[in-house]
Amino acid sequence: MNTGLSKPCLPWHLALWIGFLINFSQAWGLSPTPDLDGFEKNIRPILSKYCFACHGPEKSKAKIRFDQVDPNIVSGNHQDIWDETREVFNNGEMPPEDEAQPNSHERELLSVWMDTEFKKAKLLRNPLVKSQLRRMTKYELKYALEDSFPLNADFAIEPLPDEISSSTTGLKNSAQHLHFSSTQLDLMMEAILTYLQKIRSIVQLKPIHIHFDIDDYESLRKEKLFKKFYFKGIKKVEQNLEIQPGGHLDLKIPKVSKVNFQILYEASSISKASITTSFGYRYAKNFKKEQLQTLGHHFLDTPQQIQIDYFPNEDEFKLDLQLDRPYFIRLSNHSNVPVQVHSFEFVGNISKHFKQSLLNQKNPRNDLLPRFLRSSFRRTPSLAELKHYQSIFDVIKASQGDILALLHTYEEILCSPKFLYFGLHQDKNTLLAEKLSSFLWCSLPDQALMDDAENKQLTNPKIMTQHINRMLKNPKSKRFVKHFSQQWLHPSKMFNIAVDQQYYRNFDHQLKDLMLQETFEAMNDVLRKGASALELLEARHVFVNQDLAQHYQLKGVKGDTFQKVILPEAHPRGGLLTQGTFLIGNSDGINSHAILRGVWLTETLLNDPPPSPPNNVPPLDESIPGFDQMTLNQKLEVHRNHDACKSCHQKIDPYGLAFENFDASGAWREKILVISKNEKKSKEKNRPVYQRTFLPVEADTILSNHHPLHGILDLKRYLVKYRKHDFSEGLVEKLLAYALSRDVSFHDEDLVRQLNRQFIQHQYSVPDLIHDIVKSDEFQSGEKR
């Protein structure tokens, strides 16, 4: 196919047609017609004998009915059922071991027939790669904007709906699910217009000067602008304000935008004192926890002028996100002598630097505009295109000046399909650059990548390798870590679970944010730094800060920064399984939930999603004595013994039970707390009395394959020893789907297997896997038609 493309003498679309014909003739040559007679003659009798009882007119377990299945694997409607059937039949999962088994002849017949039919199906073009064209996702639009302008775009993209996640991969960037509608277009345009409007308003800001008149301190205290939040150890001494040792002074400042500001103050002390200037906010007025950022430390004795210029930068995203919070400047005295403040001035809204970074001392019309076009369209614009946009620029410039004319022209560029769509290029190198940047940066290619694309260097494996390494090193690839992790592992589920305050009195909700960060840190170590992916299953270390370490009962970790901490021998943590994120996310907020944990493990990590539960789940049975006193898992056991549920749940629940030492707040426990209402009400107040009882933890379990497990450590060992292949294949499949931004199917199974072999050879290094995915024909050719 692509040989045609590279021949300069053939018009590309003609070449495509030739490719088309070759493709079809190949396919026809092997005549991919389904063997329906063979099905009727040999296969249906086998299915009828061994499968119909559970998957037929009487029962339809897993919602599969073989009496109604479409026997046409090649192009029929039930490819997914057959794909699943082939897998469970070949690995001996089905028919279940306590049912009648087909003899070797029947086994052979069925497995050869399915294999042959699937081979034929694979000869037909993979319907999932019809077109590589796809629109940007919500988060890709965000990053594309932020890579072009020095302003966070969250506020602008917020009204856009999240993309539909693919039901097969759970990913949000699958081309076949990224639809466009008038609402989508409206919201995307609205986001772009809102974003550029904000930039305009920043450009047009006038600096504000606020002078803090210390003489008039008392009346200023009442004024809005400098109203204190909280202050301690402040005294008025003559003409000065005195900050006592350990005290601090908070000064409220107007809303800050991503524009720099300046603080000027004069202070002195009788002997050497140190004063710290910081900048911060609270989530809400009555919220205790503060976000603080230090702006500078100064030593002083004689009166001294202190000037601090603050430039917000990329890494301070946390502060930056909270544009509308009440901010304050804090002067704190860390020494043991008082500090006198003589004067204080704040200059806000200094947009000079912002403007400079937009203009960059370049000619707007002849340098900036072509450059912006190139990065937005991911190719050098044609002369006609450039002229078109320059003419727009010229008209506005005459009346509104350079910057506004530029922004106006950018608006038109950003609304163009050439910006909003990936995959529009005919040139292979340009396509590769674009695919690579959306894969690793969730955004557009940078200059270096585009330069090499335009010099046709990206098809050179050596150069490509360099780019991948460079891009993984760049902090922009943290976006890949974040979004791939979110789409693969769904860590945000945790935020939908309310950790019960009666059961977990000391649970601080900010721990959830720390847990999420732990998950991202661990994924970062594997996805970008190249730690073995098996460390996601079992690891001797965790990524924690002080607060989280405390929750995990780890001693000696200090500070708010996350650090890699080596675990003591036989400590239960380490790996994804024991991260609070997933322990909370797969609980009900009160107690652990073995089913949810088991499903999460098999579905997400072992790539073996259990079938959806049957409709009409029977309610938990009868009034069993002491039902109230049972733990959730004991109640579930009652439920599991029901015949309709057993076959699936015996594959799920034992995994979940191995997590039993972890409660619904993600903490370790030796006993299970149950709070129940006492029948008798308290005499005085007629209020219900709650009774706290403790049940023993039972984390010993037996898997459906009769393998015994003793708790979490044993489970992790088991996974690494016996299931690592399933785990790595699942990861390969997900990453491939993410890189190709499409669903994967049985058409891709050979590639997935091959990549997995290489992955194992490379000691489960994801960066190596990324190189291999990029090298694959599927990524390279992209089947551009």
């Binding site: 693919s166 699910h177 399909p417 769509y421 907020g589 938990l620």
Partner: protein, 445 residues
Amino acid sequence: MKNKSWHLDRKTFLRGSGIALSLPYLNAMTIQGEAQSLKQLPKRVAFSFFPNGVSLPPENDPQYEEWHWFPKGQGRDFSFRTIQNSLNPFRNDLSVLSGLSNPENRNIPSHMGSSGFLSCRAISKNSSINAQSIDQVISQSHGRNTPLKSLVLSSVGGVGSLHRSYTLSYDSKGRAIPAMSNLRQIYEKMYLSNSPASLAKLKRKVHLLNAVYHDAKRLHLNLGIEDQKILDEYLTSISDLEKKLEHEKFWIKQTNTNKRPQLKLEINFNDVENYIQTMYEMIYLSFKADITRVATYQIASEGGESPVGNMSKAIGIKKDLHSLSHGASKGDRGYIEWGQWDQFIAKQFSIFLNKLRECKEGDGCLLDRCLILHGSATGKSHDPHNYPLILAGGKKLGHRSGQFITYPENEQALSNLFVKMANAVDIPLQNFADSNGRDLKGIFA
């Protein structure tokens, strides 16, 4: 604007007199003759949905008497149990329906049912495309006459996935329509601003669309067939949006910003009761001022991972929504707890109905010309049969309210009801989705 149709004239009048409009409407129209003007009163449809089914203890359960969702009695002689007692004052304005469901959705995982609730179609495993939902079929005709073609709301907002949808509405191509959840955003959509800034933005958008259209057209020529198909979707979006903006432009001119109601908009679904009330209020206000005639509201989304799953906890019930639907068993408090949530939902719905009934319009009240279907896409937990459904309002649209009707489930389909509802609001629909033409006896005159 010389040859204004009667319609436009009326619209101008409606908008001009703003929100407080109800009775004066009739007076202004008396020249037309009363019967004629009554005929011209707008007819509206709304759908409100709650997830995971309802509390249905079996007859031999001690909780059956009070906490079984379906009412006592049958036919015209029925009354709500404790679980929905707040609806008793409205029993003559509504019908309770039993035995209806979407046949195609009976065999798919039940939590997927919300995406098929109004489309009556089951979604295949690998697809991201549904079929057009009934509300959108209706809004295709009714939307022309109002500033908003339809009001699509949900507490979560957006689209979710087809397995766990966050919207009830799907457009003519089966694509999910993002639902609005942010009250400020909804308000601003309802009350179009005619400030110079918004007008300038509108003008800018029209200009950009035009520019972008030519861009896309040129690109289109150079693409392969499959790529063209993708870009066609974009081109269609442009022309659809152009029409929408044209429509918006027309309505902005009629805007009277002084008549915007004061609402508390800075609340979200954590403030459960106020939030649900305000969402219903939005539908009420839109109907009253004829801002739209079609609305959908997904009160909460299906399943255990729903972002609004803790709504029940926020109102003091011990379990989240999904656990409520699984936690009920005989002799346990489970049905009571679940029933308390259902009771809460019924109360919210009754407040909404009350507003519509209190508002006089023509020869009756607003409720008389609104058909509101309220219900869920599962009966018991994980059982997509026998949907709990209430059809409220529409007395003047032929709805024979005041009944509890049970239909034979193996013969009937929910789509048959949708056809009837569409017909009641003057949509000459013969069939919808899997409707089988079997008459739903007794419900419409």
